[in-house]
Amino acid sequence: MRYSGLKVIKEALTGHKGWRPTWRDPEPKKSYDVVIIGGGGHGLATAYYLAKNHNITNVAVIEKGWIGGGNVGRNTTIIRSNYLLDGNEPFYELSLKLWEGLEQDFNYNAMVSQRGILNLVHTDAQRDAARRRGNAMILNGSDAELLDTDGVRAMYPFLNFNNARFPIKGGLLHRRGGTVRHDAVAWGYARGADLRGVDIIQNCEVTGFKIENGKCLGVETTKGFIGANKVASCVAGSSSRVMEKAGMRLPIESHVLQAFVSEGLKPVLDGVITFGAGHFYCSQSDKGGLVFGGDLDMYNSYAQRGNLPVVEDVMEGGMALIPALGRVRMLRSWGGIMDMSMDGSPFIDKTHIDGLYFNGGWCYGGFKATPASGWCYAHLLATDTPHKVATAYRLDRFRKGLMIDEKGQGAQPNLH
């Protein structure tokens, strides 16, 4: 069934009886060509592109809970390709280009909205770094503009230009960045994959791998053994938990990141703003809520919740940047578990176990990566060679000294 405005009108006039399940709930088959562990954005996108790009449709996506319930369902919805390093920027630029055509591609309105992302700078050194980054973006085919204070003021006159502790000295504007209705991404990929024959199996937890003679033959699950030619882990914050069942230790720690939404407001913020002198970034959803976040809680955690000091830190940043937010109320907070890697960059790679693949280490940048992650992971699974924009995302890069460290923080995951 194709979704369209006409279809909506037709259904409205006929009592909405024609809408079918967005995806089926099949029982798992005995075996598949590919079993993807994790029904989040990346897992569903991988399944979608396996089917669409590589015509591999005998695929199952196995989800412990409900699809889209991990980080794709608990992020701050931002998409962007404002990366600095060669290992990253082409990948994220591919992702942004995929976002730009995604809705027509999978026939689901995920409200991709290129509202622009403005990263504020507050010091000369930050401006120098922004210039280097902006140039790297442009050299990789992305877009960037360097604004001075007046340029920022023209966009957002209500920021604190009067008595800021850290005055705004400009910003790096990435106009093609923006926001996407996050849940819809999971549902759109799920629907697209399901229509092409992929089985999406919810409430099915992987309890172990069947590995014989260095080859992975399938997964043990709460719904029984499911055989597979290739098993692809794609579980973000649960990466260490899952891969531990295959005997692997990863260069990853799991950390909690809180995010917040305010009560609905008439339009305040058109684009996304990142405060460069505190921990605060913010956009406004189409529903009117200000969606904002800041830094990690900093300690290892698998609890999808955080603590008060970070809430205060983030909202202090909000007030420092936008003093007019004083009476705006935060409605809800939540936490997601971030697979923080040792250099802040992800992995899309084979493992040392034949037939077992790994995708993870997305830190808190996983959402924007969803299309390219699925695209490249599908490419790796289908061809056994890394996609050209994901060649750096190898598990052995630390052994070789080839870190991709955007923030320059070294092997301390919570600082990325």
Binding site: E103, N107, T123
Partner: protein
């Protein structure tokens, strides 16, 4: 002024607080209540003037004045009135106050009335009565749950250009003024043995019990009146009315120094290990806070034990057109009548599935309100005195455009009947307020006998739940649970408390037969009134396989409005369970998350606003620099002088060039106190520094300083500085300004965790010494005038990289280091910080004959770039010693942090980046920090990228723009001409690769 306003004003002025007068002007004001004939207050709603009384909420006052219509819904812009009398309110949202204090989405049901209150309705245009956007309601059949996911995709560009702007404008609720909030906020910290959350009968009894036992108790309630439902009910406790018992309890608690009673305080979240967040509204009930006083305070409460006594929230029943103003929860109608002496209308009907609804009928009848019907879904409903009972009946539809006029019933017999009423009091049973029990990992459990979820699973550490929050709904049970709960909680702390004799109170059982929605009818029956989620939407979600509760919530937006579904989630779950053929507990619940009710940005920021967002660190010469008219710049938390403009200088470059030239030609002085200083002592101090620095320190002689580079364990450089050896067992280490805290932390880590038996003691002395760089050919001459004559600082006695303890200015102790960041003959001289102000004055006075200049961070930067010294832009966390041209400094002969991993192949490739200098071929051209480097010809692309420029300056010595940066294999490419490209700003400059040491590469000046 319009006639309407004048009339309203004139009528309202007749109010004198007497009961008779009340009725006269406030058409729905009743006798009695807890407003006690309080002070009359004047307020406006949508510009119209009204009167109410002290003790009213905005909602109760508007209802008293016959106003039921208070808002519009989110999607369909349906007219709405209050559903509730509390913080769970979904409908009656207003913009309170104006200007910088404008506060969108304020629930009229909890906005305390004050004289001069100004409120406006929101999300409507042009007026609340005539809202153009209500057109959406006509198209509701097209605007079902998730419709937007299926359309607006063609043509692609139209989403951002057309559809989305329209949606965004229509969405949202209230608006902000865009003015800065003028009010102050505060934060604080409280400690207690027992935190009691909620001051109803349970909480009060618990606080009394614990308070009498001498425990440290905090009792908080979101309401401005303590008592909870006791204020809303007519039954008594012992010989007293509920309200009188509350007053007595409150008086007793107030007299206990160990008890802190906090009304107007919402516990917003249960955090780890007994920490609770609380927001106290200290000035939301007045026109404006007193000067300096906060509007709200965020308290962080450290509790040893906590009792959740937060009561319960009534839930509605869904039926067609159940959202008209006047359709309210039965408990709320009762509360308006008993507490605020208000009825929403003179004729009221009741619709219930449980006995509690009957209380509303009885109380209204006792107050003289006409109850036109009691509709009970149960065939065996108890009898009602004074009103007609329809047992086994249902409400199937309602009428009334901007307010309820009548309801249509389907009687047990099957016939329909219309009943006139201006308000319908609905009760579908009560849900315990389990929210805080779920803020960690608790998942509530279903209790069949009360048809509701009660707390279960892993509660927050050391929390007990009591009373209605735990499903014990009677007053007697609440008192018992409060007392027993307090005794039990305190006994775990070793505090003996006694429950004692409890007063007698009503102990009615809960008689409820679950009834979630009326199945009859083709129209819409609302679940989430704010977000306009109807029973049909839940059915559609089910049909489309959004069946998990989380999918249901996200697809339909059920429970995502400002009330977070406090009155609506349960109904949605029950309907989904029915559709899925499951039991309610099998469907589960969505996650309750902080905050319990929405919390302002202002209070979460507290005092950390504006210039006080973060502390400011000032240098010892700050005051003097201010006097010189210095321009300051933020460097981390420090404020440093950036340059010192002199009369006639119109551009910063003029000042900076002058400062650089004067320092290079004569002498300049710069406050360098901000560099971190760590005092390292102990028998193993030298060996310890050997571990910390990549280069060797063990053999540094006493009286000497050495430059040191610190690596992270991954082999990347992260800080550099100097270590001065004052004794065999005593060093003073400097760090960069930015990394002072980090270096100290890392050193403590090494000391305590890696080398625990080394005899090393560390302490920061950054702030204890005011330190000044004195640089330039005349530096020694200047210093010789300041340093006391017994200290010989000649080149021979005090050579380059020397250090020593001296005195200055006739006996003031000081430290002198002969180190140079500028490349000139230079010293750094330190005195105790209190003398720093005097010292800069002294130095400038002594330097007068040499034309000494103060120089700021800009000139400092220019001189270090001219010398090719790495700083923050080069130590960017991705560069190794090799990249920095200091590869040979990394000792292979000793263990130090970072040396093993610095040898990895990827960090030692042939074309590794190397730090070099760049000079534009055309000396009038400018180079930019952040420009990328490309070969002299060929493509400009990421694939051909050769490196990047990190720092640039205009060198007044070379009369050219210069830069340093990282170039692939750079040290072998000196003399090559390449391109520095800056497509971001449209520049491309031909630059020559040169040594990063632009000035005095042999270092003769600094040794002179």
């Amino acid at each position: 002024m319009t006639d309407a306003v004048m009339n309203a004003g004139r009528v309202a002025f007749q109010a004198d607080g007497g009961t008779g007068a009340r009725k006269g002007v406030q058409v729905n004001r009743l006798d009695g209540g807890l407003i006690k004939g309080g002070k009359p207050l004047s307020f406006t709603f949508d510009g119209k003037r009204f009167k109410g009384f002290e003790g009213d909420t905005l909602a109760s006052a508007l209802l008293a004045n016959g106003v039921r219509l208070m808002g519009r819904s989110f999607k369909y812009h349906r007219p709405r009135g209050p559903l509730t009398s509390g913080s769970e309110e979904p409908n009656a949202l207003v913009e309170l106050r104006s200007g910088g204090r404008q506060e969108p989405n304020t629930r009229a049901t909890v906005a305390e009335l004050y004289d001069g209150l100004e409120a406006n309705s929101q999300n409507r245009w042009p007026s609340l009565q005539h809202d153009f956007m209500a057109i959406n309601d006509r198209f509701s059949n097209f605007l079902t749950a998730g419709f937007y996911y299926k359309t607006f995709m063609w043509p692609a560009a139209f989403w951002e250009k057309l559809y989305e702007p329209i949606i965004r404008k229509a969405a949202g609720l209230g608006s902000i003024s865009f003015e800065a909030d003028p009010d102050a906020y505060d934060k604080g910290f409280l400690h207690c043995d027992l935190l009691v959350i909620g001051a109803g009968p349970t909480g009060l009894m618990a606080a009394l019990t614990a308070g009498r036992a001498g425990a440290q108790v905090i009792i908080a309630d979101e309401d401005f009146l303590l008592g909870g439902r006791l204020n809303a009910e007519t039954f008594g406790i012992g010989d007293l009315t509920g309200a009188a018992w509350v007053e007595q309890a409150q008086a007793e608690l107030a007299a206990m120094p160990n008890v802190r009673v906090m009304p107007r305080t919402t516990i917003i979240g249960a955090f780890d290990h007994g920490i609770y967040g609380a927001v106290e509204r200290t000035a939301d009930h007045v026109l404006a806070p007193e000067a300096g006083k906060p509007r709200q305070i965020l308290w962080r409460i450290y509790s040893k034990r906590a009792m959740l006594a937060a009561g319960a929230t009534e839930r509605p029943i869904a039926f067609e057109n159940n959202d008209r103003p006047g359709v309210m929860l039965a408990g709320a109608v009762r509360a308006y009548a008993n507490r605020w002496a208000v009825t929403p209308d003179q004729t009221v009907a009741v619709f219930t599935n449980n006995d509690d609804g009957h209380r509303t009928a009885a109380d209204l009848i006792a107050k003289g309100v006409k109850v036109t019907a009691v509709i009970d879904t149960r065939a065996d409903a108890p009898a009602v005195e004074g009103a007609e009972l329809f047992a086994g009946a249902q409400v199937i539809d309602t009428k009334g455009r901007l307010g309820l006029e009548s309801v249509r019933l389907r009687l047990a017999s099957g016939i329909t009947r219309d009943v006139p009423c201006g308000a319908l009091a609905v009760s579908g049973g009560w849900n315990p307020n389990v929210h805080l029990t779920c803020h960690q990992r608790g998942r509530p459990a279903w209790r069949e006998d009360i048809a509701a979820f009660v707390p279960a699973g892993e509660l927050p550490q050391n929390m007990v739940v009591a009373g209605a929050a735990n499903g014990d709904f009677s007053t007697a049970a609440a008192l018992r649970a409060g007392a027993d709960g307090a005794v039990a909680a305190l006994s775990e702390l070793g505090i003996e408390a006694k429950a004692g004799d409890l007063p007698e109170a009503e102990d009615a059982p809960v008689n409820v037969t679950p009834f979630w929605y009326v199945k009859e009818g083709k129209g819409r029956a609302w679940l989430d009134q704010q977000n306009d989620v109807t029973v049909k939407d839940v059915k559609l979600a089910h049909q489309e396989n959004f069946r998990s509760v989380e999918h249901l919530k996200r697809y339909t937006t059920l429970g995502m409005a400002t009330d977070q579904g406090k009155t609506s989630n349960m109904g949605g779950l029950a309907i989904m369970a029915e559709l899925a053929g499951k039991q309610i507990p099998e469907v589960g619940t969505t996650m309750f998350r902080p905050p319990y009710t929405p919390v302002s940005f202002g209070v979460m920021a507290g005092r950390s606003v504006g210039e006080e967002f973060r502390p400011t660190r000032k240098t010892p010469s700050h005051k003097w620099a201010e006097e010189q008219g210095a321009v300051f710049v933020e460097v981390g938390q420090w404020l440093r002088a950036q340059w010192f403009p002199q009369a006639g200088e119109t551009h910063w470059r003029q000042s900076v060039d002058r400062e650089v030239l004067q320092a290079r030609n004569s002498v300049g002085v710069c406050d360098v106190t901000t560099l971190g200083k760590i005092d390292v002592q102990g028998k193993d101090a030298a060996e310890f520094l050997n571990k910390m620095y990549a280069n060797a320190f063990a053999k540094l002689p006493v009286g000497k300083v050495r430059y040191g580079l610190m690596l992270r364990e991954d082999g990347i450089a992260y800080d550099d500085g100097t270590a001065a050896r004052f004794a065999e067992d005593h060093f003073v280490v400097t760090t960069t300004t930015a990394n002072a805290v980090l270096v100290y932390r890392n050193m403590e880590f090494a000391r305590q965790c890696l080398f625990p038996d080394m005899d090393v003691q560390l302490i920061s002395t950054t702030e204890a010494w005011a330190q000044f760089a004195v640089a330039g050919p005349n530096a020694r001459k200047l210093l010789q005038k300041v340093v006391d004559p017994e200290f010989d600082i000649s080149n021979e006695a005090f050579p380059f990289m020397g250090c020593g303890e001296i005195t200055v200015a006739g006996g003031c102790r000081a430290r002198l280091f002969r180190i140079s960041f500028s490349g000139e003959l230079a010293y750094e001289i330190a005195v105790p910080t209190r003398y720093g102000d005097a010292m800069i004055r002294k130095l400038m006075e002594a330097g007068e004959e040499f034309g000494a200049v103060p120089y700021g961070t800009e000139a400092l930067g220019v001189m270090r770039i001219e010398k090719g010294h790495a700083a923050g832009n080069e130590l960017n966390g991705t560069t190794s010693a090799l990249n920095l041209g200091m590869g040979r400094m990394v000792s292979k002969k000793k263990d130090c942090i970072g040396n093993v991993l610095s040898e990895r192949e990827g960090m030692n490739q042939d074309d590794a980046l190397k730090l070099v200098g760049f000079k534009p071929v055309d000396s009038s051209a400018t180079v930019y920090a952040g420009a990328h480097l490309m070969n002299s010809d060929g493509e400009v692309s990421a694939a051909t990228d050769q490196g990047y420029i990190t720092s640039v300056a205009y060198s007044p010595v070379l009369k050219s723009s210069i830069g340093i940066g990282f170039l692939k294999n750079g040290d072998a490419r000196k003399g090559e001409v390449i391109r520095a490209v800056n497509p971001l700003e449209g520049h491309e400059t031909q630059v020559e690769v040169v040594s990063a040491h632009f000035v005095d590469p042999e270092g003769e000046r600094l040794r002179g």
